[in-house]
């Protein structure tokens, strides 16, 4: 049944490819960009889920808080706008990225320290409910500090085209996202696969008790995971800010989309999270594109959640993941 849906979707895509190739490729690139913007957020969910089996609901709100913080940095501290010199923009953005990473990491690790650590031995649902509560708290902190209005930054990256073939355009602003996302992903893979701390993380997620016996400081490893997830959310937030607007409650919806992406790829699986977000970005773009029978942006949320439910029901382990007992 699940396969049937996928096949139907494939036929629909093929039809659109032949019907209007220009639009198809344009939308494809939009989807790729959107997916890359999302890609760093699901990684935070996946990292934390991998180690604590906890859906960190507050992650999306940490993302929003960091994004709002970064918007203040760009507009008020560094005072960047379209007219600034190229070198100033590059330096300012780099500094913003770094500060946002540190900020996001600290906020995320603080949440773990304050709320989740005390519940290490509590039942999982107690921690999950706490995470929902933390999400509301962080969201209200954003509301208290930054108010209800959308924040945006001036378009710092040129929207000139990188290439233009036929009617297909690809601009620098989109390319910028990929330019940032991929090095970060490579760095993350290296960190998790090759460093001592990454090894400790993987060991802890496999068996915390045994790794504690092997002399791994489990609490420190978990804190490190939260720091890492927060830093990724920080980068993602700045990227999101460059592309879209951000508000105190942006994090909630984006968090759900990101979580869907993480589940789609197979939760706990790093490359799965990236694959999942690219697919979700594509689905969003194609759904809102000018195609035959595309339901339109009113239905995007329903479609994303529909996918989430379908995956959890038909293939709870996700595209690349392994089967877990929760999947029944």
């Amino acid at each position: 049944m699940g396969l049937g849906f996928v096949a139907l979707f494939g036929v629909w895509l093929l039809y659109n490819l032949f019907d209007n190739p220009t639009d198809f490729f344009n939308i494809f690139l939009i989807g790729l960009t959107q997916g890359s913007v999302y890609a760093l957020v699901p990684l935070g969910y996946t990292l934390v889920y991998g180690i604590l089996q906890l859906i960190n609901f507050a992650h999306g709100d940490v993302f929003a808080l960091t994004g709002l913080f970064a918007s203040t940095l760009i507009t008020s501290v560094f005072k960047l706008d379209e007219t600034s010199a190229a070198l100033t923009i590059v330096g300012g953005l780099l500094a913003t990225f770094l500060i946002a990473m540190v900020f996001g990491a600290l906020v995320n690790a603080t949440i773990e320290l304050v709320a989740y650590r005390r519940l290490r031995s509590a039942p999982r649902l107690a921690v999950l409910i706490t995470a929902v509560g933390m999400s509301f708290i962080v969201q209200n902190i954003s509301l208290a500090i930054f108010g209800v209005n959308f924040r945006s930054v001036p378009s710092l990256v040129s929207d000139g085209n990188v290439f233009s073939i036929g009617g297909v355009h690809y601009n620098w602003q989109s390319f910028f996202v990929i330019l940032v996302t991929f090095p970060v992903l490579v760095l993350l893979t290296w960190l998790v696969k090759s460093t001592r701390q990454g090894k400790a993380m993987r060991a802890t997620s496999q068996d915390p008790e045994a790794s504690a016996m092997m002399g791994i400081n489990v609490n420190r490893t978990i804190s490190f995971t939260f720091l890492l997830a927060g830093a990724l959310a920080g980068v993602g937030a700045v990227l999101f800010l460059v592309e879209f607007n951000i508000r105190y409650d942006t994090g909630f919806e984006l968090g759900l989309i990101a979580f869907t992406a993480a589940v789609l790829g197979g939760i706990g699986n790093l490359s799965g999270a990236v694959l999942g977000s690219i697919i979700i970005g594509m689905i969003q773009a194609f759904n809102e594109g000018p195609f035959l029978w595309a339901p339109g942006s009113d239905w995007t949320r329903s479609i994303v959640f529909g996918i989430l439910i379908a995956i959890l029901v038909f293939r709870p382990e996700g595209l690349l993941g392994e089967r877990t007992p929760e999947g029944g």
């Binding site: 859906i55 005390r118 031995s121 509590a122 107690a126 509301f136 708290i137 509301l143 959640f305 999947g327």
Partner: protein, 447 residues
């Protein structure tokens, strides 16, 4: 054997007498303990009921404006909303508290109930004209107009069906996966009602404008002339009072049903599943069927309450239904104590009062009396942050809730059941991944 039982009874009586004497209640206490057990068991509830039922009569004489902290007592109109949300919390308690299924999308049931009332008792479908026991509207009015009393039942049944439809594919998931799926449904259904104003040109929900007006309950003119019952609530001068008593009646029916259900075979099966799903399954409890029943019954009360509040507000609007409501209801269940009906009722009443007008009133009082004019605060703006803090603090310091369920409290007191956390929800068993986490993070404060 009989003699020993007599002895036990005598010693129990002796103990009670000493307790009465020690408490200094004297003759009154003696009389009180002499009353039959059902009377003693029910009189606190009856007293509470009496205080609640007569509220519209004495609310006007209560002081209003600048009452310390709470500023003023809730109006009868607010009290209706408080009662309805409490009813929903009691319904959610069946799913979360009894059966241990975390439901983050209860708002979906509220929405289904409210929109069913909108479809069956308003002029939404102008294409048809169908009247059945409708009161207070013209006989020529187009649309479907069914008596609200019937609509309440129909909405509840339809919502229960919706609960089954959501439950059947998803209930084999456990724990956090189930929470996420319910959250997904809680987001999809409100978006559906918001967008379903032209499904192939057919206006099902009237989009963002919502369905309005929805008929009000009433007893019709024949009952009015026979026993003096109101024709239609909306035409009465004391409409708020009538809605208040009806809401109270719905809440009481819900509470009684939930108490009876808890003690039934089904209720004990729910609790067994909550304590340990694997063991319950091994003991022969049909897991899927039992859990689906929990969903259906939780949805039933949610739908009934939703339909009633739609009739009370005379409309169903998509902006009423968002994730915050689900969390708000969950917060009531957690604060009261998962599974404890009286706890949930009290926590539900307090929190929905805070939501309806309490926070705003407290803010006003604080601004008038504590904070200087230069540092005024907006408490109501941060209501969900406050609920978040309540949730986190409760989970950290008192996970059993304000008034814990008696069964759970006994388990904790007897201490034969491991630590406080064991078995509240699914226990991690050795063959589950992540099983070793218990205690792996060093001795936690409660580990």
């Amino acid at each position: 054997m009989p003699r020993r039982r007599d002895q036990a009874r005598a010693s129990a009586r002796g103990y009670r007498e000493t307790a009465v004497r020690r408490s200094g209640l004297g003759a009154a206490g003696e009389q009180w303990s002499g009353l039959p057990r059902p009377v003693r068991a029910f009189s606190p509830a009856l007293l509470l009921l009496l205080i609640a039922a007569t509220y519209p009569y004495y609310v006007a004489s209560l002081p209003s404006g600048n009452v310390p902290l709470i500023y003023s007592f809730p109006s009868v109109r607010s009290a209706v909303t408080i009662l309805v949300f409490t009813t929903m919390a009691v319904g959610l308690n069946v799913v979360v508290g009894y059966c241990g299924l975390l439901d983050l999308g209860y708002v979906a049931f509220y929405a289904i109930g409210a929109y069913t009332a909108g479809w069956l008792a308003s002029g939404q479908f102008q294409q048809v004209k169908f009247h059945f026991g409708s009161v207070g509207i013209s006989h020529d009015a187009r649309g479907i107009h069914i008596s609200i009393w019937l609509v309440l039942v129909l909405a509840a049944l339809l919502t229960a069906l919706g609960g089954i439809a959501i439950g059947l594919p998803t209930l084999r998931l456990r724990g956090d996966y189930l929470a996420i799926v319910t959250l997904g449904f809680g987001e999809i259904i409100p978006q559906f009602v918001r967008n379903a104003d032209s499904l192939h040109g057919f206006d099902l929900t009237h989009g963002t404008f919502g369905i309005s007006p929805i008929d009000s309950p009433g007893f019709g003119s024949s009952l009015n002339s026979a026993v003096g019952l109101p024709v239609a609530y909306s035409q009465e001068f004391t409409a708020d009072r009538l809605f208040f008593w009806t809401a109270l009646a719905i809440l009481i029916i819900t509470i009684v049903c939930c108490i009876r259900l808890r003690d039934s075979r089904l209720g004990r099966a729910w609790i067994a599943i909550r304590e340990d799903e694997t063991a319950a399954g091994a003991m022969g409890i049909p897991l899927m069927r039992t859990k689906t029943w929990a969903y259906a019954i939780g949805a039933f009360f949610g739908g009934c309450a939703g339909a009633f509040i739609a009739s009370f507000n005379a409309g169903a609007f998509p902006s009423q239904f968002n994730f915050n409501i689900s969390v708000f209801l969950l917060c009531m269940v957690i604060l009261g104590g998962m599974g404890s009906i009286w706890g949930v009722v009290i926590a539900g009443a307090i929190l929905s009062w805070l939501n309806v007008e309490g926070l705003a009133n407290i803010g006003t009082w604080l601004n008038n009396n504590i904070f200087p004019a230069s540092h005024q605060i907006e408490v109501a703006k941060y209501q969900f942050g406050i609920y978040g803090i309540i949730i986190v603090l409760m989970m950290m310091f008192r996970p059993v809730g304000l008034i814990p369920e008696r069964r759970r409290k006994r388990e904790i007191e007897e201490g034969g059941h491991g630590t406080l956390d064991d078995g509240i929800y699914e226990m991690r068993t050795a063959n589950e991944p992540g099983a070793g986490e218990r205690g792996a993070g060093g001795p936690g404060p409660r580990g």
